[in-house]
């Protein structure tokens, strides 16, 4: 008996439907020309009306408050406020880019290509997942900034009492729960990369201490939220019959990302004031800082 391992064939380009074709000149070239002209004129107009910003000359001794990255990185700067810096700034974006690139290797069906949304439930999945990402991200930011507890108390007169104080924000898990002393000094031996890290203390055999409550706040809860919530959302959509194919699952994941990414960028850009405090956009002020004085951190 001969058994051959046959690799799944790689999809080939579609055959052309020549009777359905139009000429690139003029049908496409003119559209491109018009689009290019519209953008050129719009940008010229914009450039006439609004000048590119130029502040005072760079000065390492004068820190503006708040100091912000370019707007398209403010989503990461916003994440940094809520969790471990390495995770927010590098690990999560890297993992997400890999997941993004891997979409077509997960969703390999050729059906539904070349048309908007493409599956039966695609539009409702997109809207629902986008809303989950949008509202969920807002809720998490408000919670972690202590604003939810503030609204509950000051607007509705509801306070959880002392027993629920650990729910005020994520940091309260570390400060408000009665952690035993040993949990803050769990000893373990990780690989010590002294060669690569210039400031790693001790030799390769030195034991390291893990602050478990700190780990829970900085890494545990954020990982649980970021992995758990999308999984719960997609699982729920699958159970109620919205998500039926891999395409649907990817649609839900991507739309949720767009919602959350939008909120992170928006909050980082328009809602973070001095000391990275959460403020309304119209309350946002930038202080130029005083020479020789560090800006207030969060």
């Amino acid at each position: 008996m001969a058994t051959a391992v046959v690799a799944r064939p790689v999809a080939r380009p579609q055959a052309r439907a020549r009777d359905e074709e139009v000429l690139v000149w003029p049908d496409l070239v003119f559209i491109e020309f018009i689009a290019a002209m519209v953008f050129t004129l719009t940008l010229f107009l914009l450039a006439f009306l609004i000048n590119a910003p130029l502040l005072d000359q760079a000065n390492a001794d004068v820190t503006p408050n708040p100091s912000k990255a370019p707007w398209y990185l403010l989503n990461l700067q916003e994440l940094l406020l809520h969790m471990n810096a390495a995770m927010a700034g590098v690990i999560i974006p890297t993992i997400w880019l890999v997941i993004l690139g891997a979409f077509p290797y997960f969703d390999r069906e050729q059906d539904g290509q070349g048309e908007w949304f493409g599956t039966e439930g695609a539009v409702k999945i997109t809207i629902a997942a986008g809303l989950v990402g949008f509202l969920g991200c807002w809720a998490l930011i408000l919670w972690d900034s202590g604003k939810l507890a503030f609204f509950m108390h000051d607007w509705f007169g509801i306070s959880g009492g002392d027993s629920l104080r650990f729910l005020a924000d994520v940091r309260s898990f570390q400060t408000q729960l009665p952690w035993p002393d040993w949990s803050k000094e769990i000893t373990y031996l990780p690989f010590n990369l002294k060669l690569l890290s210039s400031d790693a203390p001790g030799g390769p055999t030195q034991f390291q201490h893990l602050d478990f409550p700190g780990w829970i706040v900085e890494q545990g809860i954020p990982i649980a939220v970021m992995v758990g919530l999308p999984c719960i959302m997609i699982y729920t959509m699958w159970r109620i019959g919205w998500v039926q194919t891999r395409r649907d699952a990817v649609l839900a994941l991507f739309s949720g990302f767009i919602g959350a990414y939008g909120v992170l960028t928006l909050v980082g850009t328009a809602f973070r004031g001095q000391g990275q405090e959460l403020v309304f956009p119209w309350e946002l002020k930038v202080s130029e800082g005083i020479p020789g004085q560090e800006a207030g951190g969060h």
Binding site: P13, L28, I31, A47, A52, P104, R108, L196, S197
Partner: protein, 250 residues
């Protein structure tokens, strides 16, 4: 019934003949003016720039709502940024002593300098937005599906390169906005486990944003990253053609 006789050439026909059937025109364009289907196909097939396109495409692909021209406009922004960028390079020296003064000089003493700088800045923002929207368009039309898997990956790389191009350009005016944005941005990169401090040092050429960082960002911005982006764009466009043009329903 009278047989239709050829009419005498009008004055317009004579002008047309002089313009498009002369030795000089034909030495440049080979084909006549693209007013017949044959010439229209030839002009696309024989012109190096138009040859990015096939001569004919499926009728669904000329619908604006199918692509919103987002990919093409991203490329157009890249071209516009190259042109305005070259003009700015005539006046800008990437040294800590001169950078800020050069920008002020461009804005006040150079004719249309302020306009060029504004165009460059707004086009850069537009490119980031357009590239991101292009990614969303490709995703929601299922255009990443087989056989276009790899071109989606190339697109993700181009998205990252677009961010990096914009980020490296952000430092060049050497004002407070630039300095502190790059300080915050490179601190984010520096927080990476294991390789973070090293990569931050490599990026800045030191422990903080200074003269070495400026020259590195400038070099990456004007030659390193554009070259890399151009290579990936070439692959991206080539693969669109090889994978059967734009995606359309099976």
């Amino acid at each position: 019934m009278a047989v239709e006789q050829p009419t005498r050439p009008t004055i317009a026909d004579k002008i047309y003949d002089k313009m498009f059937h002369n030795y000089l025109w034909k030495s440049i364009f080979r084909t006549g003016y693209p007013n017949t289907p044959r010439n229209q196909m030839l002009v696309v097939a024989t012109n190096v720039f138009l040859h990015l396109h096939p001569t004919r495409i499926h009728r669904t692909h000329v619908k604006i709502t199918h692509t919103y021209c987002l990919g093409g406009l991203s490329f157009f922004m890249f071209l516009g940024l190259t042109i305005t960028g070259i003009l700015l390079m005539f006046y800008y020296v990437p040294s800590v002593d001169r950078a800020y003064l050069d920008i002020q000089n461009i804005q006040t003493n150079v004719q249309f300098g302020q306009l060029m700088r504004n165009m460059h800045r707004w086009m850069a923002h537009a490119m980031v937005i357009l590239v991101f929207m292009h990614m969303m368009r490709v995703f929601y039309t299922g255009a990443y599906k087989p056989p276009r898997e790899f071109n989606w990956v190339v697109g993700v790389i181009l998205l990252v390169l677009t961010f990096l191009l914009s980020f490296t350009g952000y430092l060049l005016p050497w004002d407070q906005l630039a300095f502190w944005a790059i300080t915050v941005g490179t601190n984010i990169a520096g927080s990476a486990p294991v390789l973070g401090p090293k990569s931050r040092f490599w990026l800045l050429g030191g422990l903080q944003v200074g003269p070495d960082a400026l020259i590195r960002f400038y070099t990456l911005h004007v030659i390193g990253l554009p070259l890399l982006a151009a290579i990936f764009m070439a692959v991206h466009f080539w693969r669109i053609r090889r994978d059967g043009g734009l995606a359309r329903p099976l």
